[in-house]
Symmetry: C2
Subunit: 491 residues, 2 copies
């Protein structure tokens, strides 16, 4: 099994994630659910994101509707541009995403932005037929990836947002004004986005409904190097990968000086992102900021870096870092006929802010954390351990009575009841103690408290460390303080 | 202005909530956004819900997809039953929700479950015409309130879920098995639901896209009184309101004994809910559990209590507490052809669990907390104060340099930088100190730290209490500990 398959098995069997509507034959592909362990790690990941990015930089977090009006996506360009090329078999009606189909069948590298004519020519050139019935394909057409919904009895046209950031752009004027904003201002949001993928795949990695954590930094384009807080991060080491070059390890300050990064604002936010991920337990040696070429960038981006990580199934994009310039506010301003300029208080100039974004995929990030934490311990019984950072582990403490007699179970219940008020605690009474340790290790539980006969004599318990398997004995009265420190310090 | 209008003004001007897509003329009604203050209070409300319900009762929390397959809603009955009666003007095509239209025009009390013939008869009886053009209405028809979406290029039929609990029912078998569940087992979920209301209104109170916090307790129907942990809540006092009777204040234990509540399981969960809300700052004297009559209950409920609160615009339902029996699992089992029975380990019997649910509206709950906290202090300058529980306040601490000279601002920035790592902290440097206190009080900030000339001499600051307006002086080094205790103890 590959590590991807190991993680999938663990996810399905241990309550991390599993397919949506799985008891039904008509369950659509590309929809997944978080089980109890998945919810817990997701919430802790989001807490860390809030602490390390939103709170640290005094950003403002909003939470908007997922269904938005048609005008929003006329202005954003999604009605016109957010399409995939598709081909349909004239005989059996099978439909495929054209660029992918050609790549898979021929090995030819087809750009996501290839024109319909180019795609048609390739189909003719390679004489491609339907893989299901050998039929001929019709013309290349365009499929818009937004989900349309109809509002009210008249079914007014509206859409599920394909990226959470559109909410931030549309709400910018009110938030900036009522919250007394000052440029540069980060506005952040966690929420669902929706893309009607033609071929969703690989569980959490290409979903039709997915979680984004997006940050849009509104800035004055004439002051991108005027950022005193850049000092805080100038020594942060980034892995930067430019087109077809090797990875450069460079401090943020030097990267800006040498023109590897365009300005301090970009350098600052890439550094914050880097520092955030280094606390998630992802192996930072296997990460890079990859600068995208002009043919790879999204239609709204003028400069783009993808934060990528290496996994068992290749390099994955976790965060798109796009300098969107004034593309969005200009579009919304023109379509809505609202003036979205703001005053820069330093010189009282009017400015239509530019935007630099950190658009993070939460689901993919969680997958990567699981994969990079996965460890098979061949020296100890082939035990499987998720070496999660203690503050991200879905269960922080396991409580295990060594035996189910002599009052040990009741004692364990009391300790469990106390600890669960403050920590994610799991009481496990059934099975051998070794098997119970294994179950805790598999889901990454950093600490196990064992109640034994000595507990009944002097009110002490052992605490077992997941990674070292070492145990030490401490008084029950000190447990709460111990875990507070252990889960806090590790941040 | 009514209190509803006061809260609306505050919400719009101070970043609590505001209409979605508001810069666009085609913004659909019934969609609202949370601004920074709204997100903060919402997150804290959810944390409290997790602590007081999910964690306390060792429930399992999941997070599923919002788009679900058609079969789910065939089984749940929503395809057939989740409809509103509508009437359409034959002349101008205006469409109205029929039962509401009749109630508004005639004062006649039309049940949500009235049959189409009954509605038609009322329209004829009162000779109702279109309010826009005086035209005649066509026949009463049915409008399904679910939003339909099409999946993939073939636009396979699927729906945005109208209640989050369907996810829980569909996922029940896997969660129960992989998490080694035991009855009674609460499965909880926070998420969005969607209802295509014909006439959304009153901001957060009737939305087309809204947040639910739902708990489905799966139980063995033959053991509804077999619940040792009922002891913990037997003295919890509940306000129970039976059909057209006065409110009875009664302890949970007595309510079960006297048959006011049907069994201990229902009594236990209503009590947990009551204890949770008593910690939100809602005025519990203005709450009641109202037992619904047979004509009021939802189509899936066999016993139903609504947890209601009194507000300036009448009694609002915050939580629907429904005994759904085996309605849902039976439906999903029949439609999916899966056996959803589980083993009760106590006697090894097979059982198709029954369900008791606590279906909470988060948006409405937040509105109520704001309204019940709203206080105009006529003795002090007519100041407006949100007397929020400190642990729910969107900003916990305001940091205010008394003047913008003599190094006070820099000192304040240092204190702000320290505190914001652990607390929701806001630095405000502009305007008179009185005005800055007012701004903090309006958004419910429990504490203000003022940096003055004495601070520069001996490193002490004053802490001002929002409600009493009293100030006391403490060393800067003790601030963090002070706030940790103040925000913790108040829970």
């Amino acid at each position: 099994m590959s590590n991807y398959e190991f993680i999938m098995k663990l996810a399905l069997e241990r309550g991390f994630y599993f397919p949506s509507c799985e008891i039904y034959a008509d369950a659509p592909a590309g929809f997944w659910e978080y089980g109890p362990r998945g919810v817990s790690i997701k919430n802790k990941f989001i807490d860390l994101w809030r602490k390390e990015l939103v709170r640290r930089d005094s950003m403002m977090e909003i939470d908007g509707s997922q269904i938005m009006s048609k005008s929003v996506f006329v202005a954003s360009g999604h009605i016109g541009n957010f399409t995939d090329p598709i081909i349909k078999c004239k005989k059996c009606n099978s439909t495929f995403r054209a660029d992918r189909y050609i790549s898979e069948k021929t090995g030819e590298n087809v750009s996501e932005r290839a024109l319909d004519e180019e795609i048609s020519q390739l189909i003719t050139k390679y004489e491609l037929k339907c893989q299901n019935c050998d039929g001929d394909f019709g013309d290349v057409t365009r499929f818009n990836m937004m989900f349309r919904v109809g509002i009210g009895p008249a079914a007014e046209e509206a859409y599920l947002r394909p990226e959470t950031c559109q909410t931030i752009f549309v709400d910018f004027a009110r938030v900036f004004k009522t919250m007394r904003g000052k440029l540069p201002l980060g506005i952040a949001q966690i929420g669902k986005s929706f893309r009607n993928e033609i071929a969703p795949r690989q569980s959490l990695l290409r979903l039709r409904e997915f979680y984004q954590a997006e940050i849009e930094v509104f800035c004055n384009p004439s002051k991108l190097d005027d950022l005193p807080r850049f000092e805080q991060v100038k020594n942060t080491v980034l892995n930067i990968y430019e087109e077809r070059e090797t990875v450069t390890q460079v401090k943020a300050g030097e990267a800006v000086q040498e023109g590897i990064l365009p300005n301090r604002l970009v350098g600052y936010y890439l550094s914050l992102l880097n520092e955030f991920y280094s606390k998630t337990g992802i192996d930072m040696k296997r990460t890079r900021f990859r600068r995208l070429s002009d043919t790879e960038k999204a239609f709204y981006a003028s400069i783009a870096f993808d934060f990528e990580v290496e996994t068992s199934i290749g390099w994955l994009e976790l965060v798109a870092c796009n300098y969107r310039s004034d593309y969005d506010l200009k579009g919304h301003s023109a379509t809505s006929k609202q003036n979205l300029e703001v005053i820069d208080p330093l010189d009282q100039s009017k400015v239509l802010p530019h935007v630099f974004e950190l658009s993070m995929g939460i689901d993919r990030s969680l997958y990567t954390i699981l994969e990079h934490s996965y460890f098979q311990d061949f020296e100890h019984d082939n035990r499987i351990v998720l070496k999660l950072k203690p503050y991200l582990a879905p269960v922080s403490v396991g409580v295990l009575p060594l035996m189910n007699k002599d009052g040990l179970a009741e004692k364990a219940e009391g300790i469990f009841a106390d600890l669960k008020q403050d920590f994610d605690t799991f009481l496990d009474v059934s099975g051998s103690i070794g098997r119970r340790y294994r179950r805790l290790e598999e889901i990454g539980t950093p600490f196990a408290v064992t109640i034994d006969k000595i507990t009944m004599q002097n009110d002490t318990v052992t605490i077992r460390d997941r990674d070292s398997m070492q145990q030490k004995r401490i008084p029950v009265s000190e447990l709460s303080n111990f875990f507070h420190c252990a889960l806090q310090d590790s941040k």
